[in-house]
């Protein structure tokens, strides 16, 4: 029986590591979408941050500084996206896709120029708790940024649901015209939401690089940004379900990678496409119950 417990612990801890970057980014994407931006540039935010984190860690010798640099780079991508789509009103999908292409090109270009090396932040293991059966190792032995989630997830929820900023943000995402009448600077809120999204997606990407993997390679996010978008859709624009979506995707991947070790084989194409299928199915099945922001992906300009 201890075999089963160990297997569970293995899959669980692997799932958590695969989920964590998604959760960071999803907390950002969730905020951006609640404010009305269907942000496709998460991939760019994550990848840029992953590169920046390793590069800066190499320059400064500190993985933590690298992590911070990743956050800043992600926010920078968010700022550019915000300026283009909520100041100059370029189609937000186009901006997102172009930014993805730009960052992928840039990082691939730069990574050929110099050696980046390995940098990793410290691992924290919580005494006593780590010895719990099944859940001990997965939950209490992690690279320290993971524990940031304990604060960031509630903070994200609080910001959106309880703070004035979040209230205004939601108003901007639901009915920008009414929000504008009430004196809310709709496009400013949307740009701010993108900044937050960039910072968190950046944290996710940076964590992937200096937390989990310890190095950077070309296109290392490999579509995780799109997975995050799928998670928010899958979650029906609720934070809890979005994170559950991330967990499902992360665990599905963990399962896919662990099953051979446990003696099973599965069709990998089906498993790789599962998140996208699930997101589509969720949209097809639950549309009526979803809280899709009323003005999602609709630009706002004041006219009368």
């Amino acid at each position: 029986m201890s075999g089963v417990a160990e297997d569970l612990a293995t899959i669980l801890s692997s799932g958590i590591r695969l989920t964590a970057p998604l959760v960071f980014a999803a907390c950002g994407e969730y905020v951006a979408e609640r404010a009305g931006t269907l942000n496709v540039s998460v991939e760019a935010m994550m990848l840029g941050a992953a590169f920046g984190a390793i590069a800066v860690a190499g320059l400064t010798g500190s993985a933590t500084v690298g992590l911070l640099a990743g956050v800043l780079l992600g926010a920078l991508v968010g700022a550019v996206h915000g300026a283009l789509s909520h100041r100059w009103h370029v189609n937000t999908f186009v901006v997102g896709l172009v930014l993805n292409a730009l960052v992928l090109g840039l990082t691939s270009y730069l990574v050929t120029v110099g050696e980046l090396g390995r940098h990793q932040v410290a691992q924290v293991s919580v005494p006593v708790l780590r010895d719990l059966p099944v859940l001990g190792a997965p939950l209490f032995v992690e690279r320290w940024p993971v524990y940031l989630l304990l604060a960031l997830v509630p903070l994200t929820w609080w910001l959106v649901e309880r703070s004035r900023w979040g209230l205004e943000l939601r108003a901007a995402g639901e009915n920008p015209e009414a929000a504008d009448m009430t004196g809310i600077r709709v496009n400013l809120r949307r740009r701010q939401a993108l900044l937050w999204c960039g910072a968190l997606a950046g944290l996710g990407g940076a964590y992937l690089a200096v937390g989990e993997v310890g190095s950077f390679n070309q296109n290392m996010t490999a579509g995780r940004g799109y997975l995050v978008i799928a998670a928010v859709i899958f979650g029906g624009w609720r934070l809890g379900r979005t994170l559950a979506g991330c967990a499902v995707f992360g665990l599905a991947d963990a399962l896919r990678l662990a099953l051979p070790a446990l003696g099973y084989t599965v069709n990998s194409q089906l498993l790789v496409s599962a998140p996208y299928l699930l997101a589509l199915l969720a949209m097809l099945l639950f549309t009526t119950r979803q809280r899709r922001p009323g003005a999602l992906a609709r630009p706002f300009r004041r006219t009368s």
């Binding site: 309880r162 703070s163 004035r164 209230l167 205004e168 939601r170 108003a171 639901e174 009915n175 015209e177 009414a178 929000a179 504008d180 009448m181 009430t182 004196g183 809310i184 600077r185 809280r291 009323g294 009368s304």
Partner: protein, 502 residues
């Protein structure tokens, strides 16, 4: 020394291109008074108030609060100056709760419990009962109006601006509201600007009144010293009988349709949830029927059904005796129903297409072969229409966007009539039109009726109904609550009917 007025506007001017929405407007509102602001559609009332709130930048002029010149950069700054506004077009966010909407525009942290308690307290103080936790999207029009009021009153504005607050309220609700306002003004010494088209409301509820016409102030007087007749005259700019307040031909010349003429349009049991509730109505050839009611009672939904935008949950539409399959796009138009929609920009025209293209939008088949659009035929037809309806445009290929409102309206009318319909539905046809355009429009509608077209006019303006129609029906909460020949109607009677007191 006399206290400074709560609000003083001097020489406010605002232009939109060639349109002067506000032309050197002066307005003074004292503390402790309800100030009526009156004017026909497009006179510039809302624009003036939007400027006051900082939603629109003025071209020139000054704003003083309590004698101090101020600049208002936006609603938030206005609120800080003690100016609050209840909007004509509601500024509520549906998926949010009542209390969230109420606290939306203010600053500082959101304290749930305190906010809800406060909403309750304010609601109680002004007699506006509402559940703070209800989602605004689930509320009725009247309740939404209450939320809108609460949102404004909560901030304790010294100057409260209300833009047509009663247009969606019943008579009883309106009366209640004015009681509240009276109390606010008398006990708390606030200033209220009340914008309304309803003369009775103005004469009963206000202390002083300002009348605007075409962007200018034309009358400023204590309410007690004026009469409804005078106000109407000033508003329109000529002597009017109250029965034809818009100032066009008196109704007498309209021929009464004989009961024998054919039923051209029959609506039976139309139901759309929410919006219409088992609505039935018949219009005969040669008749102009008015559908009258306060805004928000289902007119918009009816317009959408007759435009083919909404498929009703139940009920039928028959044109010339034949039922129309409403699920088929364009079926109504094909059956011979033309419509001038209420919101032309939304459903009537395509602003980015040319005048010519807009003129053939619904009758594309007439100017094209099986595959190709026949440009020559199109131009010929369009030129004829432009001449016939006197549409002024820089060129036929100019985008419709560049036309003035009146000309856009003419384009829609020309297009809808060019199909030689049996039925013409005109929703709020005079909205946004100047007097000359309205006169022209009414003459055209009359001519349509004379030609044997059945005309249905959907309107919130009693004057329009009384002037134009031969028979009228009153709509309340999505159903017809009364029908009578226009000759037997007067504003008081309409006022009663509109509140659902049939």
């Amino acid at each position: 020394m006399a206290p400074e007025p709560a609000l003083r506007l001097r020489g406010i001017t605002k232009r939109y291109g060639a349109v002067v929405a506000c032309d050197r407007v002066d307005l003074t509102v004292e503390r402790g008074e309800i100030h009526g602001l009156l004017g026909e559609n497009g006179a510039g009332k809302s624009t003036l108030m939007r400027i006051l709130l900082g939603l629109e930048a003025r071209d020139s002029g000054t704003v003083e609060r309590d004698g101090r010149a101020v600049t208002v950069a936006g609603p938030r700054e206005a609120a800080a100056l003690g100016i609050g506004m209840v909007h004509q077009h509601l500024s509520l966010v549906d998926p949010l709760t009542v209390w969230e909407n109420v606290v939306l525009g203010s600053a500082g942290p959101v304290r749930r419990a305190a906010a809800r308690a406060e909403v309750r307290a304010v609601a109680e103080r002004y007699g506006l009962v509402i559940d703070p936790d209800a989602r605004v999207g689930t509320l009725s029009a009247g309740e939404r109006q209450r939320v809108e009021l609460l949102k404004c009153l909560r901030r304790d504005p010294a100057v409260l601006i209300m833009d047509e607050p009663t247009s969606v309220l019943t008579a009883a609700e309106s009366a209640e509201l004015f009681t509240v306002l009276r109390r606010v003004v008398a006990a708390e010494h606030r200033a209220v600007v009340l914008i309304s088209h309803k003369l009775t409301e103005i004469t009963t509820a206000t202390d002083r009144v300002t009348v605007m016409r075409a962007g200018r102030v034309v009358l400023r007087r204590a309410t007690a010293a004026t009469t409804e007749a005078e106000l109407a005259r000033e508003m329109v700019g000529r002597e009017v009988t109250l029965g034809a307040a818009v100032g066009v031909l008196p109704n007498a010349t309209a021929p009464a349709a004989s009961a024998a003429s054919a039923e051209a349009l029959r609506l039976a049991g139309l139901t759309v949830r929410p919006g219409l509730d088992d609505l039935s109505l018949t219009v005969r050839s040669g008749e102009i029927v008015g559908l009258y009611g306060a805004e928000g009672n289902g007119q918009k939904t009816l317009g959408d059904v007759l435009s083919g935008l909404t498929v009703p949950d139940a009920g039928t539409v028959e044109v010339a005796g034949a039922p129309v399959d409403l699920r088929r796009p364009g079926a109504l138009s094909a059956a011979g129903l033309g419509i001038v929609p209420e919101d032309r920009h939304h459903a009537g025209v395509v602003l980015d297409l040319s005048v010519a293209e807009n003129l053939v939008l619904t009758r594309l088949g007439d100017v094209s072969g099986r595959v190709f659009v026949d440009r020559r035929r199109l131009r010929r037809r369009v030129r004829a229409l432009v001449d016939e309806y006197g549409i002024t445009a820089a060129s036929l290929d100019a985008p419709l966007r560049s036309l003035s409102g009146g000309n856009q309206q003419r384009v829609v009318l020309a297009r809808e009539l060019s199909g030689r319909p049996r039925v013409l539905v005109a929703a709020q046809p005079s909205r946004g039109l100047d007097v000359g355009a309205v006169e022209d429009l009414y003459a055209r509608l009359r001519r349509c009726a004379d030609d044997g077209i059945a005309v249905l006019v959907i309107s919130t303006e009693p004057a329009e109904i009384l002037t134009l129609t031969t028979r009228l029906a009153v709509i309340f909460r999505g159903r017809i609550v009364g029908e009578l020949p226009t000759a037997r109607a007067d504003p008081e009677r309409l006022g009663l009917l509109v509140g659902g007191a049939a």
